[in-house]
């Protein structure tokens, strides 16, 4: 029987071609998958900032066959193309009850009938809530139904009132409050007259503030949903009001840039599903920075010891193998170790010695920025050690001999020649460490990263850098927000945006390190 049909690759050359084609095929597949993921993140994350057009739809809601809503597309389900009749689209919409955004899959035929709603706006409030609705009129005192043209003027008036309130709070109420509390603490008998006067003044200013706030509360905006139900929001709550249907592309781009800036510079709201991500970005970068400061000296010292000072015997070899294997330990194990050893062990012991009075409430023995950085430094230590050893091995023996021959001791030779020449290798290790640390989430949740931290770890209060504070982290924010986004609507896109940012952070940190390494390489590589 002719076996040619089964074995089309009869000779070695054919077999080799086949193997190479298969390799190429799988590599291409992998690359495509990778590019796909990155594109998806870019599209979904980047789209989060773009003011999409608002459409008016009819949707079956709450057992009613059709309710009119304003909504916007977030793309199709799966990879369906636009003309596809059976395609379904993700839609984010606002409906009067409750008036927040929701997310739904809608069939293609509804999309085809939808019209752009040019008079509908995206209304963003200061607390992070968003509506898609049509602003209909402004109200002030008893005058209802003022035309919308007055909006800038009204907003100015509201701003003026807000300024007044803030001024009274800062100049009068604050100092009075402090004065009253110090007087109360002191002997209240002798100062009773002064105290009484203070309290009177305080009350007077407070009633003034209440009055101003009431006036301000009378400036409102009435919004109408697609089902003609209305909602009224106080103007001082209004953060942003955009009519996407009335903007041209340049204006949209401008708005997008503004949104990106807000995203980068503002704290999150609504349980990490709205607002910005500044504290998380800050926490991530700071943690990685501290980690780098810790891991570099320790890793380099360990590598120098292992490759230059340690006796060449079985123990050293065993240590070297152990170090290389430490890089493969699952990161959560490091998290548990950090919690058990650093926080409860070292932190707890320090508490006993230094802060015995406040026990059992822990001072240092609680998750925080420093412990997190230390844990991540431990996690990335093997990478730095291995890369540094490699760099040390690459320093030519003649150079070392040259240094010794000029009367340098071993330590001097290390410091003046070997380490500078190994610095590109060291930088490679640090790059890998940063890449790993910036993306790691699991261990951090055990040792200090939280989904919400009231304060940044850096502020104007002495000692400015608060290493004991818990901090927010992009990875944790994504994890938390993604959880919420299963039940809430707006979170998912924000998570993609946060993912995109995390990628960018890792990317930028890497670029910085690579540029630095290439500089060092150029400097210390001998042309031969």
């Amino acid at each position: 029987m002719d076996k040619r049909w089964f074995y089309p690759w009869r000779n070695a050359a054919q077999r080799q071609t086949l193997v190479i084609s298969l390799c190429a095929f799988f590599t291409a597949g992998l690359l495509l998958g990778l590019v796909g993921i990155i594109l998806l993140i870019f599209a979904r994350g980047g789209g989060y900032f773009w003011p999409e057009d608002i459409y008016e739809f009819g949707l079956p809601i709450d057992n009613k066959p059709e309710v009119r809503v304003f909504g916007e597309f977030q793309g199709s389900q799966g990879l369906a193309s636009l003309g596809d009749k059976s395609a379904r689209y993700w839609l984010v919409y606002s409906h009067s009850n409750p008036p927040y955004k929701r997310r739904a899959l809608v069939a293609a035929h509804r999309v085809q009938n939808a019209d752009i709603a040019r008079h509908a706006a995206r209304v963003l409030l200061h607390d992070g809530r968003t509506f898609l609705a049509k602003p209909v009129f402004l109200n002030k005192h008893d005058e209802r139904g003022r035309v919308l043209d007055k909006l800038p003027a009204y907003q100015q008036q509201v701003q003026r009132l807000t300024d007044q309130i803030e001024t009274i709070r800062d100049i009068h109420l604050g100092p009075l409050h402090r004065k009253i509390s110090t007087l109360t603490l002191k002997d209240s008998q002798t100062n009773s007259g002064e105290l009484l006067a203070g309290k009177r003044a305080f009350e007077r200013w407070q009633s003034k503030v209440i009055q101003l706030e009431a006036t301000r509360g009378q400036y409102t905006l009435t919004l109408e949903f697609a089902d003609t139900n209305t909602i009224t929001v106080p103007l001082n709550q209004l953060k942003q009001l955009v009519y996407p249907g009335q903007l041209n592309q340049v204006e949209k781009l401008w708005l997008t840039l503004g949104n990106i800036w807000q995203f980068l510079s503002q704290p999150p709201q609504q349980a990490n599903t709205a607002g910005g991500i500044f504290p998380a970005l800050f926490g991530t970068v700071l943690m990685v920075f501290l980690m780098t400061l810790i891991v570099t000296p320790f890793g380099v010292l360990a590598a120098v010891y292992l490759s230059e000072y340690a006796p060449r015997n079985a123990v050293t070899t065993a240590i070297r193998v152990a170090v290389a294997n430490m890089a493969g330990v699952p990161s959560i194990v490091y998290g548990v170790f950090g919690l058990g050893f650093f926080i409860y062990g070292i932190g707890g012991q320090l508490d006993e010695w230094l802060f015995g009075d406040s026990l059992p409430a822990p001072t240092l023995g609680t998750p925080g920025l420093f412990w997190a950085s230390l844990t991540m430094a431990l996690l990335t230590l093997p990478v730095v050690i291995v890369a540094t050893e490699e760099g040390l091995r690459n320093v030519p023996a003649e150079i070392k001999a040259g240094s010794y021959a000029l009367g340098a001791t071993k330590a001097e030779t290390m410091w003046h020649t070997v380490l500078p020449m190994a610095s590109p290798g060291i930088m490679t290790g640090v790059i890998l460490a940063i890449a790993r640390a910036a993306g790691e989430v699991a261990p951090l949740m055990l040792v200090g990263a939280v989904k919400f931290a009231p304060n940044l770890p850096v502020d104007s209060e002495f000692p400015f850098l608060h290493l004991e504070r818990q901090f927010m982290h992009l990875g944790v924010l994504i994890y938390d927000g993604a959880f919420h986004s299963q039940t809430q609507t707006s979170g998912a896109s924000m998570m993609f945006a946060a993912c995109l940012l995390l990628l960018l952070v890792v990317f930028i940190l890497n670029i910085i390190a690579v540029v630095l390494r290439n500089k060092l390489r150029k400097r210390y590589q001998k042309e031969t």
Partner: protein, 268 residues
């Protein structure tokens, strides 16, 4: 006339301590079990050039490295016997090896400038000795480069990386680097074998100049070079010192058969 005077030969057998730069007594050296140097005894006269010749692997580099204890970096290297420099046995275990190496400079076969500027290369040893004043360093650098006949070629680019220099310039830079420490003894291990003839000539002229300043021990494979530049020549064979006398005698009327065979190229 002057060269004749400088080449005035001393009797190696009756050299007094004053005239001796290095005195080697009963030096034995082995790597692990393998004996590399056996019972070497010799006196190296001060302010002269002494050449070490012999086949590859006969132990020339090992011997020259004994003079500044560079063999210490091989843990498997064991040695016994005395090497006396300045009246002190440098093989003593309390010898300050770093200080010894500052006094006994060494240049290797392959030029090995550090990846720094020309200036910093020359300052390397001085800075280790604690010299930090910029004026002192400037002067020392100029002097060392002049001594190594390199000053005119590099004076305008002292702060360029040393790697921009040619091979011969690099080798002279390395010599200048050693000279900056004002060493008493300069050890040269095949310093010209990686260089072209013209550059080699440069370095040979340089050695003749340096003789006034220090004692030079040079390892070379080039018989003509040994005859040209050295005052004395030692012939090593399989770790033993076979013959050691002034170069004229050794190259014209060798006493030992092995020496004659080697210098006439019958083996090696």
């Amino acid at each position: 006339m002057l060269t004749l005077f400088e080449r005035e030969t001393l009797n190696l057998a009756t050299l007094n301590d004053e005239q001796t730069a290095i005195r080697v007594e009963q030096l034995n050296l082995a790597f692990d079990k393998k004996s590399v140097l056996s019972e070497i005894s010799m006196r190296i006269p001060a302010n002269r050039i002494v050449a070490l010749i012999g086949q590859s692997g006969c132990g020339k580099s090992t011997l020259i490295s004994c003079f500044n204890r560079m063999n210490d970096f091989y843990p498997q290297c064991r040695y016994e016997g005395k090497i006396i420099i300045d009246g002190r046995n440098i093989n003593h275990r309390n010898e300050n090896v770093a200080q010894l190496r500052a006094r006994v400079g060494m240049v290797f076969q392959k030029p090995n400038p550090f990846p720094m500027s020309i200036f910093d290369n020359i300052c390397y040893g001085l800075r280790l000795q604690g010299v930090t004043q910029r004026r002192q360093l400037d002067e020392a650098v100029e002097q060392a480069l002049k001594d190594a006949a390199l000053w005119n070629e590099v004076k305008d680019r002292l702060f360029d990386p040393a790697s921009v220099l040619s091979g011969g310039q690099q080798q002279r830079l390395v010599i200048a680097r050693a000279l900056a420490l004002k060493p008493e003894i300069l050890l040269l291990d095949e310093p010209t074998s990686a260089l072209d003839p013209l550059t080699t000539l440069h370095i040979e002229e340089l050695m003749a100049q340096l003789k006034k300043r220090c004692t030079i021990v040079i390892v070379t494979h080039n018989m003509q070079q040994a005859a040209r530049v050295s005052d004395y020549t030692a012939f090593l064979h399989q770790g033993r010192l076979i013959e050691y006398s002034d170069s004229d005698t050794l190259f014209t009327t060798p006493r030992k058969k092995q020496t004659e065979d080697y210098i006439t190229g019958r083996y090696g």
